[in-house]
Each structure stands twice: as structure tokens, then as C-alpha cells.
Symmetry: D2
Subunit: 121 residues, 4 copies
Amino acid sequence: MANNDLHILKQLMREFADTRDWNQFHSPKNLAMALSVEAAELVEHFQWLNEEQSRNLSQDKLDAVAHELADTLLYLVRLADKLDIDLLTAAQNKMKLNNQKYPVEKSRGNAKKYTEFATDS
Amino acid sequence: MANNDLHILKQLMREFADTRDWNQFHSPKNLAMALSVEAAELVEHFQWLNEEQSRNLSQDKLDAVAHELADTLLYLVRLADKLDIDLLTAAQNKMKLNNQKYPVEKSRGNAKKYTEFATDS
Amino acid sequence: MANNDLHILKQLMREFADTRDWNQFHSPKNLAMALSVEAAELVEHFQWLNEEQSRNLSQDKLDAVAHELADTLLYLVRLADKLDIDLLTAAQNKMKLNNQKYPVEKSRGNAKKYTEFATDS
Amino acid sequence: MANNDLHILKQLMREFADTRDWNQFHSPKNLAMALSVEAAELVEHFQWLNEEQSRNLSQDKLDAVAHELADTLLYLVRLADKLDIDLLTAAQNKMKLNNQKYPVEKSRGNAKKYTEFATDS
């Protein structure tokens, strides 16, 4: 697994923080805050667009959004590392639960079901 | 790259949404909102803890946090997929910028520098 | 001004925290986190709705949204109190700046201008 | 009630949006997003501070935080207006519920109780 995506990013973030002596700032509490701030910077790009516009971003906007996605992912990887959580395993386990909770036949195209999915996670 | 982490999760999310006909809900605008909500659910676990406590979570708390990290990552992967953004490349590019912006010798253990890093991204 | 809205809520929150000895948890850092979590709980009600649906909520949904608005406002008032910031004055000053920054004649119905307004605050 | 705080701000926001023809952007969905983004900008000021530092902000930092508090409040007032929700009443009702839910004698200085308060709202 040494060369998979999340491992590569984990190592980049470790080295970045270690060489700057920034581990002192990287408590899980602080990293969770930073992650949510980056997620909000992502939201900011979409807040006044309608859904159709959000599907058709200009290249400039796409580049800006890619930066925010990157920041969010990097803090996510860093937080998981500090808590010793394996992100891939956690995400795969969550998808198994989602598949059980929302059986295909009952959930198909069902906004109501979807809304429940959205709100009780 | 077909069996790397982020690709695996992208495929899981595609199949999950496709079989349920949920693409209609997955506009980038909506996915960005959902991502930020999951990030906040993560923050909620830490809001009344001090930093030291946040480094020493119980196993139950860790399991709950792992679920929120998973949800956040899954929406992040899904949003990137809908925008056709390669997350690994975006994150690696961002780290190159961060390395240029915060030279090791000037940034070492420097809270002020760090704060600037934090606030002008 | 002793009986105005924000003063009333400030006093309610003070008494609530004082009698429970909860000031120890109410650092500005923690309150800012709690405020952002409540704001996200508000967003959660809207994330899968389209804009038109968001203008036509059921009474049940409206009641739930009112609770989230209340939670958000209460933490906002509490945080301002802890920082000794007068919310009414701060908001009135901000509106003066907004009026200067977005002259009516240049901003009318202008999504581009609006977007700038939204993103550089 | 015509000259109370929240009413004053509601009127300022109405006039600001009306004269610029910006009601078209102010769907509840969009306003909820904008509110959460402002809340995150507030969080950003605190993310790398420890709790003690967050209680002792410089005047410059306080001024910047006051702007973010103002932005958050203004969107909160605007969203409540669009949904025809009376914020003062909603907040007072919520405080009544909180008082019932967290009896003084059981909640005093009790972090565990407090944490429950924080997470099941």
C-alpha cells in the first residue's frame, strides 16, 4: 500500500509539518476546525450559483475549486493520521453500512428516502 | 492507477448513486453543502474538548470520528468526480505551492508564519 | 436599550451558563466552533432541496429550521458577549461598508457584482 | 417592537437587497450556505489559537472578528426574514427547552452532561 494515494499524501503532510515544527499546532481539535474552514471555502464558490451553473464552471473557477478540494483533502488526511485512522478502511466500511441502510429497490429515485439518508447520518 | 484508494472510492460512490438514481441530487452545489455538513459533524465531536483531550479519544469516540471522516471523504471524492478533478494531482500541486510559500527556514516553529499560512489560503 | 432583543438573549445565555458553571467550556474558540456546527445543521435542512423548494418549506420543516436558527443566534450572542463586542453596532457598521462597496447603480441585478460581494467579504 | 435590534437589521437588509434587485439570489438555500461560510470565516480566526489565546485577542483581531460576527448575524436575520420566522421568539422558546432539558442541579459543572447537550441539539 506504500504507493497508494492516501499514503502518499499522508507522508507529504508529515514531512511538511515535521520540517517546520508545526505538529504543535496540529491537535485533532485544530485540524478538525481547519478542515471545516476549507470545506466552507469550497462552499463559497457555489453559494450564489444555481445547480445548473454549478455543473458548468469556467476553467478559472474549476482551478480555484480544485485548490479548495486539495486543502480539504490534505487536512482530512492529516487529521486521520493524527488519530491513527485508516481512511480507506473507514470509507469502505461506511459504504457497506450505506448499502445496507438504503436498499436499491426501496431507494431508487426516491427523494424522501434520500433526504432521510442525508439527515440521519 | 485503477486500484488506488481514491479510484476505489470513486467507483463505489458512482455505483451507489447510479443504482439508486441519485445523480439528480448530486449537483456540485449540493455535494459541496453535504461535504461541509459532514465536516461540521466532525467538528462537533471536538468542540467542547481541549486540545489535549482531542489527542486522547476513547475507542467509542474514535469509531464515531472515523465515520464522520469517512462521510467527509466520500462526498469529497464524489464532488471531485462530478467536476472531473483529479484529487491526487490537485493535492500534490497544492503541496508544491505550500512548500514554496512557507520555506522551512522561515517557518520553523513560527506561530505567526503559521497563522498567515492558515488565513490566506 | 435594556429591553432590546439582543440584550435579552445575552442575559438569558449568561444566566443559563452561570447557574450551570459552564463558563469553563465557553472559550471564544469553542463557541465559534459550536456556532459553525449549528450553522451546518441549518444547511443540512436545505442541502438536497432546490432553491424553489427551499422557499416553500412544510410547517414541520419550518419549525425544525427555526430551532437551528435559534441555536445559531444564541451562540452568536454568547460569543459576542464573551468578546465584549456589541452586535448591533458591528452589524450597522458592516452595512455602512456594504453600502459604500456596492453602490446601487452599479450593483443592480448584477450577478457578477454580487458574486464579488459574496467572495471577498 | 419597531425599533428593536433584530427589526432594525431586518429592515436594513431588506432595503439593501431590494434596491440592488438581489432578492433573486436570496433563496433560503443560498442564504443558509452564505451564513455557514461566514461562520467558518469566524472559526478561521480561532483555529490555531489555544483557548486562552482566544480569550485575549488583540484589538485588530477583535475588529476582524466583529466583522465576521456582523456578517453572520446579517445573513441569519435575512434568512429568518425570508422564512418569516421571528428570531427573538424562536430563541426564547429554545432557551425554555434548554432549561427543561438541562436542570441546574444535574448539569452543574458537568462536562459529560454538557457534551450531551452539545451533541443532541
